[in-house]
Subunit: 393 residues, 2 copies
């Protein structure tokens, strides 16, 4: 095992967290030798000699044998990771948006250059979801992966449900505590969950689904009426990411708020925690639970990727390479709740089986079955209207 | 990847489960070619041509490239595994008792013969505890592993606590459902949990602790009074297996019934399920939960070991080989509840800090602090008396 000399991109919450974690992980024999940052004149916790503003200072440094990329900007991240892999320098990244959009290409690039790209930290912070899907659930038994993949929106939902906090205050609190992404719409509108789900799906079923082809809907339109409906039914609203096998050939996936009953494991996942339920034939359900956000938990997950590199670990993409390819279908039913104010907005939805209807001067709701494909076709319209949708579990 | 041709030892609940699971896992390219069993004239679900009664028929068959050992008898298991490793045939085993007593030797044997022994199925059935400790928590951050490692005793406790079932009926039910080991004292007296904890400790902290040197106490002496005490305190009694880092040099471990408060993850682990809480610096706590017993869940875990062999996976014993060795100490305090009837039995315990005492004509109890070493010294005495001990969380 040779000493790992890290060139780090980004020194935000996770970057600083990693630096702290590495100090404690003394046996790891890994050291940050250079850090590339963007903003000059920012006060930082390390001496100036660590920092550079030029990516080439890291990419061309022959002593650096691992690049850890923890910057916010997905496009910049993509260019750094691509350049590093082309130069055959292994990379650890936490940038889920970048991965969600470029994973297909980056898998090919790893293969072509025989170099590793690890990113367990990109999905669910400290929970080793990707590694377990890749190494332990590498067989035909897997049926679904469902979970709460975004700590920030879950924190907000917990504050709203348990402490009757209002949305704006809860969001502010999540940001102050460092759980939220710099762009909060990533968290609350479901994109962060979607990006993670895209990555998870590649390792769970071998299928890459472009983020733009999936249904994503978040919690930013949530109102007291929706909370009341959830409470009346004895449920809690959770932002659910779901990829499921429908039959031997097809999977489907989506990110949607969901009314979760108390007998489901994810009902009890509160605050900034993440929880993932892995379901398979024969072993039934397994539940993994932990901190999904924050500098230190994510830093410790990056550490696991770094130590994995000490043992030359790389993802083998077993499901993609060795198993029957599963197709992504949107031709499936979803039982949906729509809370709305304007009767015209209902025209967006092609309900084919209505089980509940409510009308008042203040608000209305309807519950029925819709096709996922029909929802995806109008999802931008849905997001623009004054309404809220959620799935019945 | 070459086809895996399995020589199977044992065709009980787990062996049959594995056979079922393999049928479904069609991509695995693994096949059971021969099964060695003990009892002649037993009705079995496969044709006679599969079976042999002579271990040599498997050990000397050149087409067999993996031995899966799922028999009950620990001594027989030891001899089979040892012979196989000496012949450089990789082995997957589920025999925790055998491993707990012989792991040190078997680790050396793997090294000497450059051959793999995998046993994820031996601890917690379908939960990938060993694999995650070995691969993901392979750093200095780990602080403790605590959990419910025995499905059968947990099933009994759940039935007693939630359905007011009596002990004998609950035990019978666990056995009928196939959760219990053939020797129920393994389950209810904590030995099954202890054996798993010994294995986990090797992968968590690199330290092998001989089972005879640890405190193990089970639930077979549990009475209604103990349940009442638990309920009064708002807790549930769970059979807890615990290995914890005490400082930079020392760990301790034990298996003890424990009064678990509702805010602990394992409080909600019910029925035959297992739950493991992995605690570390920076990532705080992670919780893994799943079916810990039964033919199919354990069979699916054996499948993960089999497919791992397709990728030449072996445990690297990272903590043992690369990290600072932690010593096992028993010089630490435990807050203990003792329910007893005979005042003389109290002499067994050297309490040095008593916080509760209760006396009635029917029963008495005392709560205070004792040294773990002092408990171990008299553990056989304790087990022989008409009393019950449990740890306060």
């Amino acid at each position: 095992m040779s000493k790992i000399k890290i060139g780090l991109f980004g020194f935000g919450v996770v970057g600083e967290g990693l630096h702290e974690v590495l100090k404690k992980a003394y046996t790891a024999d890994a050291e940050i030798v250079k850090i590339c940052v963007k903003h000059h004149n920012k006060k930082r916790t390390l001496p100036d000699s660590y920092f550079t503003y030029n990516p080439d200072d890291i990419l061309n440094d022959p002593q650096i044998n691992l690049i850890v990329e923890l910057i916010d900007d997905a496009e910049e991240s993509y260019h750094i990771v691509k350049r590093a892999l082309e130069k055959r320098i292994p990379v650890v990244t936490g940038n889920k948006k970048m991965l969600a959009y470029h994973l297909e290409e980056l898998i090919e690039l790893q293969k072509k250059n025989n170099v590793a790209l690890l990113y367990d930290a990109s999905a669910c912070g400290s929970i080793p979801v990707i590694r377990n899907l890749e190494e332990y659930y590498d067989n035909d038994l897997l049926l679904s992966v469902k979970g709460i993949l975004n700590g920030s929106s879950n924190f907000i939902l917990s504050k709203i449900f348990n402490e009757h906090m209002d949305y704006a205050k809860a969001l502010k609190m999540a940001q102050d505590l460092g759980f939220a992404e710099s762009n909060p719409t990533f968290d609350v509108d479901g994109y962060d969950s979607l990006f993670k789900l895209v990555i998870i799906t590649v390792h769970a079923f071998g299928t890459y689904i472009h983020p733009d082809k999936a249904l994503t809907y978040g919690i930013s339109k949530l109102e007291q009426w929706d909370i009341n409906y959830a409470l009346e039914k004895g449920t809690r609203i959770k932002l659910l990411a779901d990829v499921s096998k429908l039959n031997d050939d097809e999977i489907t996936m989506f990110v949607l708020p969901c009314f979760v009953p108390p007998d489901k494991y994810i009902y009890s996942v509160e605050d900034e925690f993440n929880g993932v339920v892995i379901k398979g034939e024969y072993y039934d359900k397994q539940f993994m639970f932990g901190r999904g956000a924050g500098g230190h938990p994510t830093g410790s997950s990056v550490l696991s990727d770094i130590t994995a590199r000490q043992h030359d670990y790389k993802y083998e993409y077993k499901k993609r390479n060795n198993y029957k390819k599963m197709s992504y279908t949107t031709d499936c039913d979803i039982k949906l709740y729509v809370r709305y104010h304007n009767e015209k907005d209902l025209e967006l939805f092609k309900f084919h089986d209505i089980t509940e209807k409510y009308w008042s001067e203040e608000y209305c709701f309807i519950v029925g079955t819709v096709k996922l494909a029909d929802l995806i076709a109008v999802q931008n319209e849905i997001k623009a209207r004054d309404l809220f949708i959620a799935k019945l579990y």
